[in-house]
Each structure stands twice: as structure tokens, then as C-alpha cells.
Symmetry: C2
Subunit: 372 residues, 2 copies
Amino acid sequence: VSVKRAEIRAPAVRRRRGELRVALLGFGHVGRAFARGLLGPYREALASRKLRLRVVGVATRVHGAAVDARGLDLTQCLARVEAGGCLASLHRGAPLPSALAFVRSVPADVLVELTSLDPLRGEPATTHLRAALSRGLHVVTANKGPVAFAWSELKRLARRHRCELLHEGAVMDGTPVFNLVSRCLPGCRILGFRGTLNSTSSHVLTRMEEGASLEAAVREAQAAGIAEADPRADLSGWDSAVKGCTLANVLMGATVRPREVRRRGIVRIQPETVRSAIERGRRIRLVVRGSRLGRRIRVRVAPEEIPLGDPLSTRGSDAALILQTDLMGEIGVYERGGNVEQAAYAIFSDLATLASLGAITGRGWPRSREAT
Amino acid sequence: VSVKRAEIRAPAVRRRRGELRVALLGFGHVGRAFARGLLGPYREALASRKLRLRVVGVATRVHGAAVDARGLDLTQCLARVEAGGCLASLHRGAPLPSALAFVRSVPADVLVELTSLDPLRGEPATTHLRAALSRGLHVVTANKGPVAFAWSELKRLARRHRCELLHEGAVMDGTPVFNLVSRCLPGCRILGFRGTLNSTSSHVLTRMEEGASLEAAVREAQAAGIAEADPRADLSGWDSAVKGCTLANVLMGATVRPREVRRRGIVRIQPETVRSAIERGRRIRLVVRGSRLGRRIRVRVAPEEIPLGDPLSTRGSDAALILQTDLMGEIGVYERGGNVEQAAYAIFSDLATLASLGAITGRGWPRSREAT
């Protein structure tokens, strides 16, 4: 009910040509880096493609929410949230009792979903996406959860409502993975993949190679902002399993869910094991693999010994993914670092895609056979 | 004169919708691998995009040439050339006294340029491309020469005649490099790059790490079909310099030519140097770098010590390229192997691009700011 009212009360705002009205759900590290991008680094790129992004809503978990159809002042939003304050006084319209009310009422073209994920259920992101697509909003998300847990349902929903559901940031931040396959490997079938995709594990194993204990390495990674306060989803391989399902579902047409993944993490890895591998010219990394077994697609996660020189023998928090294709053999992509700016760029990239799809009414990409 | 006649004498052939008429200039390893692809692996991919590629001409250096507007029988072409025979009896039309006459008369939509290159001058490929573009043919080439030596001229020519000039295979075969930047990194400026792009050098250095001498390693690489009979362009860094210019010109908007590249090859590298690096956990690789110095763009080639775990510490004939971007930090692409099928896929990929550009009349790619 409050939904309709919010829309009605919003002042009449003319949409300009080449403008995309954006709602940000989640304003943590990535959301704020994206906002800072809009205020600075993205400006030239947007101007050169005559694209205007107007942020009409920002909703946070603990700093309130604000909606303004005329566009929010991002400098103010950033200042308030970073000072621990509240966005409520920037809000124009009916009260927003919940994140879902925000999704259902914000006068946007696209919902950018950036809430933190319950890794075991893929929520609340999946619920938010369902609500957004159902009311005809395009969706951009850096959350791998919805794609891993509810891909076929959300894809159907998007198709029914003629919306785009973009998620380049779900794996390896803004490094082209899904776009690489759908735009740059025409005709290729993805036969399998292998990757080191969990930056916490890679960072911890790198430090253990240098002599640290698992516990000390985790504490360091937490202090450096690489590992979460609760690192269990990373070290247990769950995060890698979710990413593996995302890749298998989108790139290989699978319907695998994280619980079906055979998974072994790095929690019980001993420092001696890590160092003995290094002495033999090898490196232990947490590897996620996707492969076809007849008509079934299997995803596995386990620590593996990687020969130095193999593209998966990454250092620090670098990530690498190798794709096995039918027509082009093995190719890989690599991301150095993996910072919030690189995660924020995934959002920018998906919004640029949306803008260009709008211009060509969604047709014309040289899509690969199994891409979305 | 013979040009016009060849076109007039060809039997009237109706062009079908979704069909691209292809002329192959050069029918060596890559051209024949592409032909074998059309007879097998590419079929499903072409059918799924309702695209028909009709090869209407094949010209070789020593096995003659054949043009048939109704389409050539590729099985026959392959059999004849591989048996050391001649294509002439398959030819329908006026005599073709030269490769240039072929380019000027073949009744095609696109010229696929695959002749072997004089690496010092970028010829005859550049002349062929000029002739093709001037008569309104699209061009697909796996030759890096024209892009390194005559990029701005050819680009202008293509624009004037409303033709596409595609060259994904010029660097790292069919691995997305140019398409990656233009389609998957919207808004990104390429600040610099570094890569190990010469498979002969990488292969030779890998074997030297294992104890072989430079000479023995080169002979092995020649026997394995990786190195050319004359490996000087590879070992001297010239091939890397040409690739570096190609990357700098297309991705960074430079106008650098191979002679302007500061270049050191691996000819004088001692086995002890290679092995002592390995003992210190490092690997010597021939690296090409592009960087901005104020408004100038510089390309350099030199052997460098790469720490193991760095994406450039590739093994065997694998290739890797790291791009430094403004908005997305450092990302990389990697190619395993580098065989003729991967080179042939570049041609397939460019032809798929042409087909899709035709469908959307050339607009709508989310191009990067400095891509072509």
C-alpha cells in the first residue's frame, strides 16, 4: 500500500533521454565505492557515451533509506553514512518500513542489489531480485547467491517481465567472465572450468607458504580487510562452491546448487603441507572445478597442488579462472587484487550494458551457445 | 581489367540471407585449420546462429587459386593442397595472375587475409588489405603486420568505405584481446600492458630451464612446429615488438611502429642465467610492455625475471597478457598452447562478429573509450 503512495507523492520528474534511474540496495564498501566512482572516475566514461546515471534511491541496513525521484546528492549520502549518521532526512515520500518496501516502490529503472548475503541460503538477495523483476525493474547484482541458488527461476521471471538480470560481479568482480563468454567466444561451448576464486583462501595460503600459521594468516587477512569477521564460508570452501554453481549454471547450462557440491576446504591444511609443496615447486590452492560427466555437470571444491607456472598458482588475493572450450581450447582470465573499486566497476559495467541494450532493444550480441 | 571480367563471367548466384561470402587469401596451416573447422566443429555453432559461410575463393602461394561464386568444395581444396596438388582445375572464371588480382576480383563480402608476413615490412598483407578495403570488402586478418605498420591508414580506409577491419587473431590467436577491451571493459582506458606473447621464446626458455641449450631448444621447437624455420624474428624480439605495436595502436590509440621499439631479444641469454633465476624462484621470459609517458606511448621488449606465481611466468608455449586499466585495475588473459585450431578460431570469431554487426548495422557495442 505504502508502495503506491510513495510513487504518487514523488514529485513529477521528467525522464531524460540516455538516462538510467538507479536504486542502490546496500551501501556498504562496494555500494559506496560505486557512488564515489559516479562522483569522479566514471564521469568521463559516462559523458563519452552520453549516459546519465541518476541515483534515485539508497537503502542501507543500519543507516536508513532515502528515495528522491529528482536524484539524491551522493556526496551527502556518503558523508552521512561514513559518519555513522542516517539517510532519513534526505528521503522524500512515504515511509519505507523495509528493504522490500524500498524495492517495491523506488521510482527506478534498475535495482542494484548489494546487500550482504546469507551464504547458506542466498537470501535476502533472491527475495529482493524476485520483487524487483516482478515489477519490471532491471536488476544488476554483485551477489552470487541468487544466481547459485535460484538461477532458472529468476531467469524465467526476467524473461517474462522483459527485464535484464545482470551479474558480472558475481565472480571475480568486474573482470569479464560472463560477458567474456557471451560476447567474445561466439559459438564456443564451455566444457569445463577451474579457478582459484576465493581471495581469503589464496591470501591465507600465500602467507602460510611464507611461514605463518593458519590462524595468524586469517587474523592478518581480517586486519587487511580481505577476510570477513567470520571467515568460515571462505575457508570451508562454501564461497567457492557458490561461485562454482554460479559459473556452472550460467556458462554450462547446469542447475547445480551449492549443497550438491563435493567440497573440502583448507581449514585442516597444515603449514608443513603448504611448505613442502613449495619446496617441490608446487603451490596449494583452493580450486573449484566444473566438468561434464555425460549429461551431468559436476562442481567440486578442494585444495590442490598447483605447479608453479600454472595460471592457477596465483599469489596473494589474485584470482584466476581457466575455461575449457570446444573451439578455442583453454583460455583464462586473471584479476589482480580484487579491491572494492574492482567490485564497484562490475556494477558500472552492467549498467553500461543495460544502457547499450536499451539502445539496441536487447538484440545483436554475438552470444555463445550456452550463455544467458 | 581481368577483374571485371572475372566478376562478369561468374555464373549468376543469388546471395541468401544470413550468408557471408568468404575469400581465403593464404591456405597454410591456419587457413586449412579454418577450412576443416567449417567442415566439422563450426557447423553446429553456425547453424545455431543461422549463419552460412560460403567460401567463394581460395588463393595459395604455390598451389594456385580457385574462385567459384557458387562456393568451393573445401574437402577437395584441402585434399589437393595437402597432396601437393593445384587448385586451378576448381577455378571458374578468368585467370588470376596474382594474389592482388584475386583480391580485386573475388566475388566475396569479406577477405580473410592469412598470407605469410615479411615481418620487417608488414607486407604483402598491408597491400592486400588496402586493395580489399578500397573495393568495399570487409577484412578479417590474423596478420599483426598491417595493424602494426599501417593501422591509422587502414582504419581511415575502412571508415571511408564503410567496411570492418577485424584482427582478433593478431595477438594470442582467438583469445579475446581486442574484443575483450571493446566489448567487456566499457569506459575503461588502457593505461599500459605487459605480456609474454612470443610462443617460440617462451618454449625455448622453458626448455633451457630444464637444462637444454638455446640451440637445442630452438631445434626442438622447430621440430614440434612451434618455431619457424628462420627463428630470428622470434628470438630477436621483433615478433614481440610487432605485437606490442599492434596492442598499443589499437588499445591505447598510439601510432608506434616496430622500428621505434626499444628491443632486446633472448639470443644471447646463457643457460646459467636461466637456471640461476629458477633457483631463486624466478623465471626469465621475453616480455613486451606498453606504457604511457605523459602523452607519449612507449613499447619495449626485453627479457625479464618474472617471479613464479606472476601471471607472466607461463610455461611452454602458453601466452599471457596483463592490461592496466583506470577503472578496473589490472586484469589479464591467458592462452594455453596456441595451436592452429586456436588461430583458426580467431577467423571464425571475427566472421561471427561481422555477421552480428551486419544484423545490427554496426552500432550498439559497449565500446571502450579508446578501442577501434
